[in-house]
Symmetry: C2
Subunit: 108 residues, 2 copies
């Protein structure tokens, strides 16, 4: 799907979404791809990184310019439907944490 996000200098916001998938795909893969595509078109979207292990535990971190862009994305109609399916079908459990990134560095 994605690997490293290309981000500006901090500060910016991170939405850390940890989840345990239910067994089977059940439309999840297609919707996950669609959500990335849709998020990329949102104002204030900066990037996303995602990894899921063989046991179905995954972490997706999406990066946003500010709290307002996170709030707008949360309210997006198609994303709201995906959230509903997430609750009902795709996730056994999830935790979502919103954080302000203060500093960053890396090695390439």
């Amino acid at each position: 799907m994605t690997s490293f996000a290309k981000l500006p200098e901090p500060p910016y916001y991170a939405v850390i979404f940890s989840s345990q998938r239910t067994p089977g795909d059940d439309g999840y893969g297609e919707m996950a791809e669609r959500m990335v595509e849709l998020a990329e078109g949102q104002a204030g979207f900066l990037g996303v990184e995602s990894a899921r292990d063989a046991d179905g535990f995954g972490i997706t971190v999406s990066y946003w310019q500010d709290e307002a862009s996170i709030a707008n994305w949360k309210r997006h109609g198609e994303h709201k439907l995906a959230q509903q399916y997430g609750h009902e079908r795709w996730y056994e459990r999830f935790e979502l944490r919103v954080a302000k990134v203060e500093r960053a560095h890396g090695m390439r």
Copy 2:
């Protein structure tokens, strides 16, 4: 290794570590386990979540009480050695972002 971290109410800090592993284990698995064990003994450590996909791209988020506990962990002797091996052997690339978690919710 771990799945969901059991965390207090925000605010607290998150260290978001995204990495691409080099091929092969080369002592990585053992050191990664040891680092979790060691971190768990540090003052201010709150928890850790980690996922790595089949292509070797992974996200580890460790949670800390404050900036001081993150700084102490960064300076820890055995962790410093692991950081050095990380640079030299285990990672093709990594990005590290330090963020203050402001709010959180979940579904169980």
